[in-house]
Subunit: 297 residues, 2 copies
């Protein structure tokens, strides 16, 4: 009673070749086996599909009517299978990722280009969000992986990679710190600072470092976006503290970047996924290439 794709393929082959023998050889099948398949199909459908004698094979009117319908159905089905196989071997698919704006503007675009060059049919769905939101998106499975900051140990989250991003001081070319190789915590406590808003992972690290160091920063400005912070620094409003990878400070001739001489100025970063969830093959290769960048070798 169950319709079988093989029987449909047999029907189409016989209809196209007009012969059981030729169709059988096309299907790499013995001719009697083909007879049985056609008969079975005719029985399940309850209608004679071919008028045949030992000399000629011809579609019945019903068969002629059914042929294009079955051809289309079979074609669609096979196309879905091809699509599915492409998803399965990672030659197509969509990488769904949430990441911090810093990465969304720095490593991620370059990596996407790299992946697209290797896998032309790869698609991307990128969300940029602050650390807490990234984690939520992963937990709710709105994305498959997240590149986020902050330490997290959650039973529902797998950490595929944990590392840290060096924080650096960003200052105008004419600033007093520009003549030094490095700056210290007390240096930073002595000048006005432009710090990103509460709730960002960078701000959490900076606040923690000052607290444990026993001193308080002088906050000149609390912008939400890094781009704003950079503009404020360029305008001489103060010094800001950003991840070394921040795209915003590159190719800015009026700015200087100096490492901070303090162990606490490391922003932890993590590549995460939901525990127990299989990543799509395309995403697995994406992760592999991302890890190659984050931790080469």
């Amino acid at each position: 009673m169950d319709l079988n794709l093989r029987d449909i393929r047999a029907f189409i082959a016989v209809a196209q070749t007009g012969s059981f023998t030729r169709a059988a050889s096309r299907l790499h099948l013995s001719q009697p086996a083909l007879t049985v398949q056609i008969r079975r199909l005719e029985e399940t459908v309850g209608v004679r599909l071919f008028d045949r004698n030992s000399r000629n094979v011809a579609l019945t009117p019903t068969g002629r009517e059914l042929l294009p319908l079955l051809q289309k159905s079979l074609h669609d089905m096979e196309h879905v299978l091809i699509d599915a196989r492409a998803l399965g071997d990672g030659s197509s698919g969509t990488v769904r990722i949430a990441c911090l704006p810093t990465f969304a503007a720095s490593v991620l675009p370059e990596l996407i280009q790299q992946v697209k060059a290797a896998v032309p049919r790869a698609g991307f769905h990128v969300r940029d969000a602050v650390a807490g939101v990234v984690e939520t998106l992963v937990r709710h499975e709105e994305v498959d992986i997240g590149l986020t900051g902050g330490e997290l140990s959650d039973a529902e989250i797998d950490v595929l990679y944990a590392g840290a991003d060096q924080l650096v001081a960003v200052l105008p070319a004419g600033h007093a710190f520009a003549r030094r190789k490095r700056v210290s915590l007390t240096d930073l406590a002595s000048v006005p600072l432009v710090l990103t808003a509460q709730g960002t992972s960078v701000r959490a690290v900076v606040d923690g470092a000052f607290t444990s160091g026993g001193c308080a920063p002088e906050i000149a400005c609390e912008p939400t976006y890094m781009m704003t912070a950079v503009a404020m620094v360029r305008a001489g409003l103060g010094v800001t503290i950003l991840p070394a990878s921040a795209r915003e400070v590159r190719a800015e001739p009026e700015l200087r970047v100096r490492p901070i001489d303090h162990d606490a100025f490391l922003r932890p970063i993590a590549l995460i996924k939901k525990r127990g969830r299989t990543l799509p093959p395309i995403t697995q290769t994406f992760v592999a290439m991302l890890l190659e960048r984050l931790a080469p070798g």
Copy 2:
């Protein structure tokens, strides 16, 4: 390597119920068998479709992407099967028939109404043509059955029914013959006749009858269409000879119909199909109902 509809149904059932056990009972299958089906499907596609542990079953991103595609393909395929079954049991389909204009305007419309009442989803493809063309259409399989006139014995044609149509004289109410019950061959030879054109089956019979009777008709007019012949008769141009079933003469108060007292004035009619061709089930029931009318009992 062959995609199986059963596995697709299994995939959809598990995706919808979120449980192997519930899906198995819906599919009337043991639960282990379902596990095997899903694993087989995952192997043929080459991708994990469900993330599952002993407690939870959830679609992978790839599975979620594939689900609607496979649902649609399966639905289409099953719909085609339903259509095919409907064709197979005669509850739908198209009756392709060619017939003489006489029948196309008389028995056929009534029969079509009758069949449509019995089989609402029946469709019709009707060609009206003179006898020779009807036979050609059947031979070329442009129609499945033909209702035609004339005797034919052809190896390629099966005669499903053979009968004859009485020919009658049609004349104006004021004509001299109107006072008689019947007319004879010599009567017809004595008055101007309106005869349908050469090539029609009626004309062939009339010509044959006059020839064998040893007399010649006086032809006043040779219209192609019966409707024209009737109009000519109504105008007093002469008497015409038509099949008794001709629709054109019914409900014409100014005309009279008289039987012709001569055995040769019978037009043979035949219901034919191409030899070796199976008729669609809907057409078989149509034929049965037609025969019931042509030869009741």
